[in-house]
Symmetry: C2
Subunit: 363 residues, 2 copies
């Protein structure tokens, strides 16, 4: 079978780290392990510069047809004054929304070799392995009205709307419970039910889904603010965390930072399984952003991007064994004390983006 | 002059820690240093148990008449099934909203003696001194609609609304800039302008206020998610952080946890200065919550509550010198290695809530 991939490098360090994935794909192809059809597309500021849009309909059509989308990063100060509707992030949000990628899986894993780069004490983060399941197509990101109105007298009013329906909470809860069963069998749901009606409904629906379908999994509820505190205090108490789009944005970034290696963390955004084809739309993306400050310098860490491609092999392309090999190769380059600048430590050899990609390929 | 105080101990550990403030007030009174008229009131679950309301109009009237309100904490599992409108937190939210307490000041200070209790490395947090200025009467906490609607077919829809007007952002920005001038002269404003219209307006208004009135202060903008990451990575880059109600809730809790001593941190919630009386309504409250798990055990740390009373002396009662003495007494008991259970460390003497209150009084 030939796997259809769409590569969307985006902005900033996106193209640099994508180049290392491209190299890996070419190698797999050359070895005859698997066949790929590769499409390329523009997204974010790069797309805006070319087409005055953060993503075109043509690219969306390619995304719709792909078995997996491999996404770099978008955004940067260059596009700060672009109209709101055309800002780089709008390209990413359209991909998520139009393809129905409601389940964002963000593992926060602390590689023992990198525990020292964390700002937290080694004993707090060493061996950490959390999975954050973030709802990705609802909430305040997409709710209407979303407006700025001129009230006169120099006053404006900005409105954003947080909306959740039962079915949206049910399906993301199921993703979390299913994942927990393959892990430590524990789910922590986070919301602000003491302040938000969406938190009340979230809590109610997650509790119902648990009671109906997943009694064997341990379920715990935390308020999102104290959940954030607990993440910083003793993150190992968590296995799977399930939360809404905005809380998930904040909490997954914080969890990522605990590990000390943002440049190492992949993510997957999955749609619903199609009843006929049994396939699901999927996009794979590093957790780090476009890092405009180091873009073009060959300093970026390509491992999160490569690990994201590894997740694609596992979740979309049914090549679990090859995914294992990618993960082993990542562990191997770390064990050889090769480090990009973001994770450098005493005694390690600092390598460039392509140096790291090459070393990985050798493994 | 006689100072009118309203004490609202609330739920959980609230009454225990308030008792230690009461002791301090009695001592000040007995020494003839100042005169106080003390009113007491119920709020939260305690009020609900007595009156089926999280706060009564009578208590609100007392709050309105007070020079300062000293607030403990509200909430706990006992009231989990109370109707949403009457849940304990509604009492706190009514106080904030009806008294117009729009400016929530949350210092995150790492006491050197306690740096070890942080989950972060000593060098990351030692000497940390951040002031988080959180907008407290707007945003998703109070915006309408705020509803759960039955859609039929077993589906419900929950809606919360984030609303900000220009004047709300202007006044909180001014509070932040004024504070920065007395500190390190730097303000970091946090929002999600890449996703939220309220973030766009927030960014615009803070920038305008800065350009018009505070050009001498350094202003920086960060997206709230990367701001959260930076808090965990290198918190000392911040001086004053200004942000909205919900982001402020999350970020101030995380900042508090960095210090390793949640039980030490006070907060102030301030209204606008009245043009006639030159006074402002104010409520003082520890950052920690009601901690139902340790309530009634005499284990709670009263220092955050006492430090909150210290802030009242400073900001509302014009007794800055006495406030200094309170702060010095707190430092002194810590220097004597007295610790409540939450901050205990090797070699320290663990004391009870009242043991700590007593030791403080001696100092
Ligand atoms: C780029 C931005 C729109 C995005 C988000 O807020 O979801 C990013 O922060 C993320 O977490 O993927
Ligand atoms: C108790 C709760 C309503 C409150 C809030 O969310 O504002 C608390 O978390 C706080 O930060 O003061």
């Amino acid at each position: 079978a030939t796997h259809k991939l769409l590569l969307l490098p985006g902005d900033g360090i996106g193209p640099e780290v994508m180049a290392e994935v491209k190299r890996l794909i070419d190698w797999i192809d050359a070895q005859g392990i698997a066949r790929f059809t590769i499409e390329n597309g523009l997204v974010g500021g790069a797309a805006y510069d070319a087409d005055k849009l953060p993503i075109t309909d043509a690219t969306m059509a390619k995304a719709d047809a792909a078995d997996a989308i491999i996404f770099g990063a978008v955004g940067g100060p260059k596009w700060d004054s672009v109209p709101y509707e055309h800002r780089p992030e709008a390209g990413l949000l359209r991909l998520r929304k139009d393809l129905g990628l409601f389940a964002n899986l963000r593992p926060a894993v602390c590689y023992p070799a990198l525990a020292e780069s964390s700002s937290l004490k080694r004993e707090v983060v060493e061996g950490l392995d959390i999975m954050i399941v973030r709802e990705l197509t609802g909430g305040v990101y997409f709710g209407e009205p979303k407006t700025i109105t001129d009230l006169g007298n120099g006053q404006k009013r900005a409105v954003d709307t947080q909306v959740y329906d039962t079915y949206e909470i049910e399906r993301i809860a199921r993703v979390a419970f299913d994942l927990a069963r393959k892990r430590q069998n524990k789910v922590t749901s986070m919301e602000k039910r003491n302040v938000m009606k969406s938190g009340v409904l979230w809590n109610e629906v997650v509790t119902q889904v648990h009671g109906r379908e997943y009694k064997d999994v341990t379920l715990e509820h935390q308020l999102a603010d104290s959940g954030g505190m607990n993440l910083v205090k003793w993150p190992k108490q968590f296995d799977v965390i399930v939360t809404d789009n905005l809380f998930g944005d904040m909490l997954s970034d914080i969890a990522a930072m605990l590990t000390g290696s943002l440049g190492m963390l992949p993510s997957a955004s999955l749609g619903e399984v199609d009843a006929k084809t049994k396939k699901r739309k999927a996009m794979y993306e590093p957790v780090h952003g476009s890092a405009p400050d180091i873009a073009g310098k060959g300093m970026a860490n390509p491992l999160a991007m490569i690990a994201s491609f590894g997740m694609a092999l596992r979740y979309s392309l049914e090549m679990g064994e090859l995914a294992d090999k990618v993960d082993q190769a990542i562990a191997a380059v770390l064990a050889k004390s090769l480090r990009t600048a973001d994770i450098k430590s005493e005694g390690a050899t600092v390598v460039s983006t392509s140096g790291m990609g090459e070393a990985l390929l050798k493994e």
